[in-house]
Symmetry: C2
Subunit: 266 residues, 2 copies
Amino acid sequence: MTSNINIVKIGGNIIDDENKLNQFLQDFAQLSGPKILIHGGGKIATEVAKGLGIEAQLVDGRRITDTEMLKVVTMVYGGLVNKNIVAKLQAFNCNAIGLTGADANIIPAQKRPVKTIDYGFAGDITAEKVQVRNIQIFLDNGFTPVIAPLTHDNNGHLLNTNADTIASTVAVALAQSIATNLTYCFEKKGVLASIEDEKSVIHQITPESYQTLKQDGVIVQGMIPKLDNAFEAIETGVKSVFICHADDVLSILEKKEKAGTELVHK
Amino acid sequence: MTSNINIVKIGGNIIDDENKLNQFLQDFAQLSGPKILIHGGGKIATEVAKGLGIEAQLVDGRRITDTEMLKVVTMVYGGLVNKNIVAKLQAFNCNAIGLTGADANIIPAQKRPVKTIDYGFAGDITAEKVQVRNIQIFLDNGFTPVIAPLTHDNNGHLLNTNADTIASTVAVALAQSIATNLTYCFEKKGVLASIEDEKSVIHQITPESYQTLKQDGVIVQGMIPKLDNAFEAIETGVKSVFICHADDVLSILEKKEKAGTELVHK
């Protein structure tokens, strides 16, 4: 059994910028020990959809996945983004293997039930359903899983699942048997007290200070689902959660330098 | 060590027809023992390229892969086609895992040198470079690799590689340690003596009769690279090679019924 694992999620804005992505992947490849990379999709899916004359629909920042859009995200997330990351990591001597939740059945999902909104082919997931044994086989053999934000319904259909949710859910599932660190990397230095000031990083957030920061309007809209996911992760066994700039992942996780925002229990 | 493995290649015309593909995958899922599926791309890549305003270029039936076309085949072969096959196989209780040659570094390639024609991002492969150990890890753990016709140059670039070539090369590599059966499935009943008569299947071809069939113009253009690959495979250790209709794969490989064309040593 492995003693420690890093689960790193890389966000869309880094993926959209080839130089930034290369730099990040070079750093990620240097992380010692077992690790998993989970990637978002970036703007490429929207661009490809536009090119093919398919209109992207969003409700509350979440994509509505109709049949045509499912094809686009399968092409872009499962193919273009995932396989390019794998090829680049191989060049950095990291033995990456690109996966969706359907591959080796690692993340079975349930198609989201229609309530007020029909999200289409959107997949809801739980840590209990994650096939930890199969993920462990890859890790035990020295492979680094690179997971695209796609799952499946075990009935032949792929489903679109938020990458932040996949990261926290896989982290919670693995945390039952391994000490698991979860790190969300994006284009900002961390959770900022003032959105326009990159120096205003909040270094630590507790469940209590999170409530205050939300009430005071410091943490708003886009960050809330990410932090909700992250707090759920540490409350259900994940050892540490960092939110940081993609440039800082190596110094935080390897050199233990202070950077980014750490979420703590209390 | 496994005693026997089936390597099956499914061609483009079946992939383009969802009903035929579903029927084939249901049959493939029922094949007993370890197995690998290798798929072509079909017309979808050309259609997606057209939709995005990218023109497909072919020379001697081989695709010229420029930067834009590489993106398209990565999306379509590595994403859309591969991941849909994986999700469908999972529904048929086959624990499929979708791979390109970059994943787990299973098929490193060399970018084709420019002689008279610049094929662009086309990858040439050899059986010696195939990472049999990594493929074996998947098989030993009960996974069924589903391989897209993409490889990589170990320098961060994906490459486009003919699916027939991947099938025969992987078969030759595995045949060094396992009894390996290679089956090419497509939309015809086998190699036909008369192209318009589905009943004119040539049941057996030897290296000698192959030469005669070529000289007499019975075997022409499109079939020649496929048969060259296939004969190379049996001459370098592959136990059997069949060319048959997708509908017949189960009856040939499981029930040992006579169908399709078998290539034999002498």
